[in-house]
């Protein structure tokens, strides 16, 4: 992803700038990874379409901003405007996620293991191509940087350690959303039901838990977070496009695995780690082959820590 700051090379200034950039990218991965980790935890399904839900979220944000006159004649100040965009993207994605679950995954609850995966692949491709159909393939710009608000994107800070308010905002919102999600999963009734379903759906349903509803809530929350990540991507990196979800989804799923599937803090940690790793690879190692190097690292991650840094090996009953 493009960077907003201008650097000197090979010095502490560069290092910190890269670190902050990495954490920003990583925060976005982390938000997407939360959706993966929740869905995988509850349904044991790799929801390939999740990355594309994130992409749709970015587009919803874009159209809401446009509809309110952005960037030339905004009908309200930036902050409420962004909040409206966030709310719309999160709601829209939540609805989308629930719809996907209801129509593409629920009929396959008892199908062979490979069936929902292929269905997910189909949904992913369908969403991607729908976006191309509706909004064309060429990328679009959020234009939150170029007009009015450039100061938010300018680095501030002390000596070598510099960051922009937008980066700070994204990293902090990720932390806040993660904490809110943790609170939900650990303290509320639905959250507890969610954890029960993730351990044993059948037993949970016999204990009077409405499994369908829990799965619906899981998709709702995960997709809403992806929608937020989509808008944040637009704000931070300006460019969005129908194909943005694919790579981000892959990396975010790996983040969820690295953090230990089903583990909320782990997913965020994994997301930050992969974001920083990616930025450093581009900045220090190679830009042309950054994907090659990054994915090699991810393959190794998957191979040797497939239970994740914070995950627990699950005992399989024979």
């Amino acid at each position: 992803m493009s960077t907003v700051l201008a650097f000197d090379f090979y010095n502490w200034h560069f290092f910190f700038a890269e670190l902050i950039n990495g954490l920003t990218t990583g925060s976005l991965y982390a938000l997407i990874a939360l959706g993966y980790t929740m869905v995988y935890g509850v349904l044991k399904l790799l929801n390939f379409a999740h990355g594309d839900v994130y992409m749709i979220g970015a587009f919803i944000g874009y159209f809401v901003l446009n509809a309110m006159g952005w960037p030339l004649k905004p009908i309200m100040p930036l902050v409420p405007l962004l909040l409206v965009a966030f709310a719309a993207a999160m709601l829209g994605c939540a609805a989308l996620g629930v719809t996907i679950e209801r129509f593409a995954y629920r009929p396959l609850r008892n199908a062979p293991r490979i069936a929902p995966l292929i269905s997910a692949l189909g949904v992913s491709f369908f969403l991607q191509q729908t976006a191309v159909l509706l909004w064309q393939a060429n990328p679009r710009s959020y234009a939150t940087y170029s007009f009015h608000n450039a100061e938010l994107y300018h680095p501030v800070g002390w000596s070598n350690f510099r960051f922009s308010y937008i980066q700070l905002l994204i990293i902090l919102s990720t932390v806040v959303l993660m904490l809110a999600l943790s609170f939900f999963v650990w303290k509320t009734r639905t959250g507890k039901a969610m954890r029960a379903v993730s351990v044993d759906p059948e037993a949970a349903s016999m204990m009077g838990i409405d499994v369908d509803r829990v799965i619906m809530v899981t998709f709702l929350l995960g997709s809403a977070l992806a929608g937020a990540a989509g808008v944040m991507t637009g704000i931070a990196f300006q460019t969005i496009g129908p194909y943005m979800g694919f790579g981000a989804g892959l990396k975010a799923f790996t983040a969820a695995v690295v953090g230990g599937i089903g583990n909320i803090g782990g997913a965020v940690l994994g997301g930050l780690l992969i974001g920083v790793a990616e930025t450093f690879i581009v900045g220090y190692v190679t830009s042309g082959f950054s994907d090659l190097v990054l994915y090699s690292v991810l393959v190794l991650f998957m191979l040797f820590r497939s239970t994740g840094i914070r995950g627990v090996a699950v005992i399989q009953k024979v």
Binding site: S119, L134, L298
Partner: protein, 505 residues
């Protein structure tokens, strides 16, 4: 689809008036639900025909087609289709037989194509003859299959899927940026892989001193020969110990391992064997197009081949061949708006005729559809003449304004004038989204509500089609693949020809 079960009268035929339990169990195969209707009949007829005969008919038709027509486009589609068939057969080994979700399959195809291009082209000035380069390509692709499948030793299911998808991304990254690598003394301007423009001027196949420059006809035969050999060899493998072990692995890896089956080795073998086929297909691709390009070997192609395998029925060799042919022919038809329009309406009509029973419902829906459209047209026309003034013809293919079909459509459809441009807020976009919503809603309601809802859904679908989709072939084609995958998984995971599987009883 239980209505296909024989009625009791049929079952207690004249020869066996009393059927004991054993007899009943023995005949259970006959009662297993298969696809119904005309298609089901075709499946049953095909099921009774010897496989080798079906294969001969298929290959024979594909090979004779170039002799029957001089239409280069048709022969080109024939060659492409056979390449897809080859790819589908290869993918079927890992996905259908061994039950591994290998999403890196395209890597082997691309690797085969690139390796052939390196060995037999002006790129390195090697120009190896076909009989040397093709075996080397296949051997190295099999080897690559083994290497890339190594992670599968540790990973199962979804994790394997994601890691193999990483390989696909890595391969794309490598081929697109490989122009910076001057390995083995590659030309500095194009490097190892030629970068985004790929490698050009790849040699055609040369067989027995005869260069197959007369593409595509010659490559129809090259691919057909490959399919024949591979289909026969794979049929034998499927019937032997390895095929059985693959199925055991698909059913239950843990039990398979406890029964002395080296599961990890068989996973490698399944991926590598499929990779070999993809490698050969890659070489044919390189020779046929006389060039290899990185954009070919990407995610959309993977989805295409999966759609083929899934549609036909993963695990059934005949099924995946059928799937590959069907999907590719449909994709080609969708490419031209004139053909696509016919297919669209024909598919809707056939679907209605096949699915709507009793005939009263069918008549009501069809009548309602006509009335709804005409009424909408009249109302819109009364409000604003512009709303129905749009041309029926959009895009590059010009339609006559007065043709019979055009006249029908113009009186049935609202065609807003001058709004077909690629804008965010064009009516076709809204209609498309609304159609999807209505189709999803259709699956939720039953009985008369469904029939009632069917009318606006179909009309809206036609509206989205006429004002937008018909002209967006490059996007509608992949969209169609996504729909195939989702609909098949939800309705019939076994595909059209696959055996329905029982998971847990």
């Amino acid at each position: 689809m239980s209505e296909d079960a024989p009625t009791p009268g049929e079952e207690s035929g004249s020869t066996s008036p009393q059927i004991g339990i054993d007899e009943w169990v023995k005949r259970s195969g006959e009662r297993i639900a298969g696809p119904g209707g005309v298609f089901g009949g075709a499946v049953r007829v095909a099921g009774r025909t010897p496989r080798i005969l079906l294969l001969a008919v298929f290959i024979g038709f594909a090979c004779v087609l170039p002799l029957l027509t001089s239409n280069g486009y048709v022969i080109g589609v024939d060659a492409d289709t056979l390449l897809y068939v080859l790819l589908a057969i290869g993918l079927n080994v890992a996905v259908g037989w061994a039950g591994l979700l290998d999403l890196g399959y395209i890597v082997y195809y691309g690797f085969g194509a690139y390796l052939y291009a390196e060995l037999s082209s002006a790129h390195y000035n090697l120009h190896w003859p076909t009989w040397q380069s093709v075996p080397v390509v296949v051997a190295f692709t099999v080897l690559l299959g083994f290497v890339l499948a190594l992670p599968s030793r540790r990973l199962r299911g979804d994790y394997l899927a994601i890691v193999t998808l990483f390989f696909l991304q890595m391969f794309n990254n490598f081929t697109t940026n490989g122009y910076t690598l001057d390995w083995f003394g590659a030309p500095t301007e194009s490097g190892l892989t030629g970068g985004p423009t790929g490698i050009n001027n790849v040699d055609p196949f040369r067989v027995f001193g005869h260069a197959l420059t007369n593409s595509p006809t010659d490559y129809v035969w090259a691919a057909a020969a490959g399919i024949t050999v591979v289909a026969i060899l794979f049929t034998f493998v499927n019937r032997s110990r390895t095929g059985r072990a693959w199925r055991a692995l698909r059913e239950d890896p843990l039990a398979a391992e406890a029964m002395g089956i080296p599961v990890k080795w068989l996973m490698l073998l399944a991926v590598a064997v499929g990779a070999g086929v993809a490698g050969y297909a890659g070489a044919v691709n390189g020779a046929y197009y006389q060039g290899v390009f990185p954009d070919t070997f990407m995610f959309p192609l993977l989805i295409t081949i999966y759609a083929m395998v899934i549609l036909g029925g993963a695990g059934s060799l005949g099924g995946v061949i059928f799937g590959a042919v069907t999907v590719n022919v449909l994709l080609e038809v969708l490419r031209t708006p004139a053909h696509a329009r016919w297919i669209f309406y024909a598919a809707l009509l056939i679907g209605l005729l096949a699915k709507l029973r009793p005939w009263r419902v069918l008549a009501a829906v069809l009548g309602g559809l006509v009335a709804f459209g005409v009424a909408a047209n009249q109302i819109a026309g009364a409000i604003s003449a512009k709303a129905v003034a749009g041309p029926i013809a959009v895009g590059p293919t010009a339609y006559t304004k007065h043709g019979f079909f055009a006249t029908l459509v113009r009186h049935w459809m609202i065609l807003p004038g001058g709004t077909y441009t690629n804008a965010d807020y064009k009516p076709g976009n809204y209609a498309f989204v609304a159609t999807i919503a209505l189709v999803l809603a259709l699956t939720l309601v039953k009985g008369w509500k469904r029939w009632a809802l069917l009318v606006p859904t179909l009309w809206l679908a036609a509206f989205a089609w006429e004002t937008d989709l018909v002209n967006q072939a490059p996007t509608v084609r992949p969209l169609f693949l996504g729909v195939i995958l989702i609909v098949l998984m939800v309705m019939r995971p076994a595909g059209l020809f696959g055996q329905s599987r029982v998971e847990v009883v």
